[in-house]
């Protein structure tokens, strides 16, 4: 039967949800095929994946823990993307945030948490924000493409982190391992009750709601969204585009910096190279999956975090290569993005006229 592509007259109300779920199912089906291709039982594999990500409390806690830095990085990336500024540097800004927070933790080990933790958060924001401000400044003054500069700054940031933990900040008692001394209790974000989850999740909620309100109810938030149409529209509407680019990049980097701070303080309790596991890159996937909406970002970061935890389980139980998780992540993103075609177009049966 011949089909015809036609542009939709009205937006498809539940389209985004249908496309997302459809894409998810599609990528799970392909994953099942990949598993089968490796001689594993596909259904069992998917069951193990489910068990490992949502099946028990331990798994859920693990997913939630990983979702926290992912959420913060992704929020940052998303506001920059909203303005069509392509910040690929959340990874580096995350590292810089961790460095800033660690600096405070090592400088004032004896301060009580109520003073030290805010200090760490402020410094993490400033460091991360500064790291993102550099490409914004270069973009505006020298027309340097921000995709390249943010990406390159990631490598510099990671090397800087290595330089510090291998050098001046190395714990003398670490038997030569590259890591700082363990943080004092004032520098550690406490856990919620008996669970593994820490209070950073409350911080995420506040930041998420704050950003949502900022975008929706403030003039600056509106100007930021309007500038997403390009600098010419901004100029037409008398919006100060350059100023906004710098502001947005600083915010974006600051959020990633906070993620670095939370992860160092609450999960590792010290700075060490194993901090860098690619949250900054996954955040880009999350932001696109969520179509840059804060609430969706919360769901998407939880989903991808759960996927990570689940794939770890799959790896253990079925001896699947570690790259399997990355393949699935990429597949989900690609199918969701491809599926968005159906939000603007629909397929119709061809009529004979």
């Amino acid at each position: 039967m011949p089909l015809k592509i036609r542009k939709r007259d009205d937006p498809w109300k539940w389209g985004a949800l249908v496309v997302f779920l459809g894409a998810l199912l599609f990528s799970l089906a392909i994953s099942g095929l990949l598993l089968a291709g490796q001689g594993k039982d596909a259904l069992e594999g998917l069951y193990v994946l489910w068990q490992g990500s949502f099946g028990n409390l331990w798994a859920l806690e693990g997913a939630l823990l990983k979702a926290i830095p992912l959420f913060l990085c992704s929020l940052g990336v998303a506001i920059a993307f909203r303005m069509q500024i392509w910040n690929i540097g959340a990874e580096g800004q995350f590292a810089l945030g961790a460095i800033g927070a660690t600096w405070m933790a090592l400088l004032f080990p004896d301060l009580p948490g109520i003073i030290l933790l805010p200090l760490m958060f402020v410094m993490a924001f400033l460091f991360g924000g500064f790291w993102a401000f550099i490409p914004a400044f270069l973009k505006l003054k020298l027309r340097v493409n921000e995709i390249i500069s943010t990406l390159m700054l990631n490598y510099i940031a990671i090397l800087l982190l290595d330089f510090l933990v291998f050098g001046v900040w190395k714990d003398p008692a670490s038997f030569g391992f590259p890591m700082t001394p363990e943080f004092t209790s004032g520098a550690v974000i406490p856990h919620i009750g008996e669970s593994r989850v820490h209070w950073g999740i409350l911080f995420c909620t506040v930041v998420g709601i704050g950003l949502w309100a900022f975008m929706r109810y403030t003039r600056l938030g509106f100007e930021l969204q309007a500038s997403g149409q390009g600098s010419r529209v901004a100029k037409y509407a008398k919006i100060r585009y350059g100023m906004l680019v710098m502001l947005v990049m600083t915010l974006s980097g600051g959020f990633a910096g906070w993620a670095g701070c939370v992860e160092t303080s609450a999960v590792l309790n010290r700075l060490q190279p194993s901090l860098m596991v690619g949250y900054g890159y996954t955040a880009i996937v999350v932001a696109w999956l969520a179509r840059l909406e804060p609430l969706n970002i919360a769901f998407a970061s939880f989903l991808l975090a759960a996927l990570r935890v689940g794939v770890e389980n799959l790896q253990l139980e079925l001896q699947i290569p570690a790259s399997f998780g990355v393949i699935m992540e990429g597949m989900i993103l690609l199918t969701v993005l491809a599926g968005q075609f159906f939000l603007t177009y629909k397929l119709e049966r061809k009529h004979r006229s």
């Binding site: 109810y217 938030g221 509106f222 100007e223 969204q225 309007a226 010419r232 100029k235 037409y236």
Partner: protein
Amino acid sequence: MPELKFVRPIHIRPLPEGTQPVVSLKNVTKRFGKIIANDSITLDIYPGRIKALLGENGAGKSTMMSLLAGRYPPDEGVIEIDGNPMKFSSSKDAITAGIGMVYQHFMLVDSMTVAENVLLGQEGSFFINPKEMMKRVGDLAETYGLDIDPAAHISDLSMGERQLVEILKLLYRESRILIFDEPTAVLTPEETSKLFEALWRMSEQGKSIIFISHKLEEVIALADEIAILRHGKIEGEFDTNAIESKSDLASRMVGKEVLLEVNREPAQICEPVLEIRHLTGLGLTDINFRVRKGEVVAIVGVAGNGQKALIEAVTGLCKPPVDTVFIMQKPWRKFFAESTWNRSMCYIPEDRMGLATLRNQNMVDNLLLTTRKGFSKGPWLNKKRAEKDTLALIKKYDIRPGRIHALAWQLSGGNLQKAVLARELYREPRLIIAEQPTQGLDVSATEEVWSRLLEARGMAGILLVTGDLNEALQLADHIAVMYRGRILGMLPTSDKETPGKIGPLMAGVID
């Protein structure tokens, strides 16, 4: 700018008796929604002849070429090649039939050589000997007298040379009909003369050439035959040597007859809101005029004669020289530094979708785009009030669909323009810059826009930039004719002789 002098090497040869056209369009019609882009066009193109298609922006030239190039099929009518009716289902079919097109934006791989670009995507063996490739392309260039080094990299070439590469690509494919879409827009005068020589040589070798342009003198210098396209119809077709005068051509291009009339009551003229004094630069030469509150001043001219630069200098999209532009009696810089969201200047641009509205956002956000300062209190934005006012404007201007949550891209051209107009008039402007405000609109929307603009004279002075002569005559008190960055005349519309004077001035003829 130096005057262009084109010397045609040979005179127009008469077509031998009984020559069959290579391409014939027969009653070809193409609609986009309600708008008829091409209205039963009938046109013959002969081998060895250069046919110029002359028309204003939006006259339907590009649509017609896209039909020929197989980009989309006509709704009615047939395209015949060598007398056989053809149905192109893709641009590939058109290429096979021998139709080749040079677009305004070149499609070349910058890091490859000329020869590589020419052979790119051609059928033939997978491996090609580089030497053989250079030789073949070099020979081809020589045959048609195109001066280009096949080993040069595209990134090292000028715009004119890149265009030659595009032409070589078509020649290599043995295209018999070559279509050029405003090819001189990116060229210097010298490059233009070179291109013309190449075109003449190709036509002597039997190629048919279609040359799309709105530049009169180029068309007269180059073409064997001219067809004028206006509002999607062929307005006239004649041999170049049968043309009596340039001004005749100009008036035929923009049209004379009154299509639509509005009743323009005179308004009270008050203080000047825009003054331009000795503005030179940005491609403009010594522009002087003023617009007073209560009057409409229209700028007319063939597109590309400096209207864009003038608008950009006034609206703040680019900076004019110091002390040339005065808005509301303040120098430009001072005005923009102190400008408020309302009771100031507003701009209704030609590019409604790309510049004046946020495509993917709703009517409320689109209202806020230029009025946001009126709805903010401290850092906050009062969206409730914006929604209420949006709804009121939608009702007042009858903008469809009548929902505040409709997104800008869902609106038709007329409704979008009404929305922009509603928003800009909501700001109670003192100076309105309206650029092609009714282009692409149907009759009722045009009437509505016109009467709203005339009504706005009560609070503002209006600078109307238009390619539609009738619009200028209907709305304006004075008409300024622009030609090559100059204003050649400021004519009062109250004068009965004005309509007759505009055509010659648009063609640059001053008696």
